[in-house]
Amino acid sequence: METVKLASLVEALLFAQGNSISIDKLCEIFEVGKKELKAAVALLKEKYDKEDSGIELVELENNLQLATKAFAYDYLTKLVKNAPRYVLSDSVLETLSIVAYKQPVTRAEIEKIRGVSCDHAINKLLEYELIEEVGRLDAPGKPLLFGTTEQFLRSFGVKSLTDLPQMNPEIIEEFKEQAASEATEIKEDSMNSDINVDI
């Protein structure tokens, strides 16, 4: 199939579907190879990048979805009733960041890092479909493993997990150095006080 023709068909399908469609599914529907499809997608992207387009193509791992460009948001709120955005509390966000960066991860691992029980936060994240059960750890008790969802990618504007915001490498390096020197240093000052325990 001609790339231009394929691009128009992909656009039509993505428009009608609204939700994301996987690249594999599109290849199957149009009976084309991945390479052909990606050429068509590239063509669409080029078109949407232009100034006269209010639509953009969002890639979510191996799924494609159309969305409005951010600049139109203020006008859109005048007309489109936006689905009420859930506000994630700090504890839910902390839990989510652990799942995002350590996935697949068990409840116990999350709780070890946070130092508190995370039942509520995990349930909320499951409810919002930001995380999901992705399997079970091959360990005693076969604990559930959690990972992030496509909805997570969409909600956080992340193309794929490799696209997650990175820690500033300088800060990490600095942390490491300090930790290393810490191990050899002996601090006397904190030893001087008496123990005064009463709980």
Binding site: A16, A70, E94, P165
Partner: protein
Amino acid sequence: MSIVVRLQVFEGPLDLLLHLIDKNKVDIYDIPIVEITEQYMDYIRNMETEDMNIMSEFLVMAATLIDIKCKMLLPKTVNDEGEEEDPRAELVQKLLEYKVYKYMSYELKDRQVDAARAIFKQPTIPKEILDYKEPVDYEKLVGDMTLKKLNEIFRSMVKRQEDKIDPIRSKFGNVKKDEVPLEAKQKHIFTYLSMHSKCSFRQLLERQGSKLEIIVSFLVVLELIKVGQVKIEQDNLFDDIIITRTNENMPIGLDADFAIV
């Protein structure tokens, strides 16, 4: 040193510790454990939570801090490589790890705010397409199924149903069970006891008795105890009950007012 952290809500003990470290402007890698512990204890003493689960999480950290505080006073332990170990090292690692994820959670939050500005579309697929159904391909559906095979399926199903029916029992009509004949039971027990001055309860039961039969027999024995004809012993729970006649010379029997309807 008085601190006003009481009103602030912390996500957990690690969050509180990070806050105290920050507040005292000390290095996370060189925590003045005595001061921080005191401030930490001060905070949890004033914690306004009734939730024991939350409280216990904070108390576990308090115990850890006190443990570290004690270790700091003891001579330093030396590891295999001849380096002195800092009792705070593990806690520092935990705080660091937690700090990283906490930091990333703020990064994510920013992303979410930006991403929320993109609006997705609801599906607009015409109803007739949604309702569309592929016509049934009967050749594929029926496959190599033939009428003969269908007949076999029917036969084997009928056969299976036959096998489920007990050929003998299914021919029985309505058999009414006799009620346990109380008088016969009494008579049997009296006769047995007049011949055996000592016997066990199980011996009293003829063959394998029904539940009702056991109950009736037991009631007869209980009644005999009541009128002082027998006494019973049982060594352990669920052991057999040993029945002994109190007076072998007295004829066994019950008062007239003993009656089971």
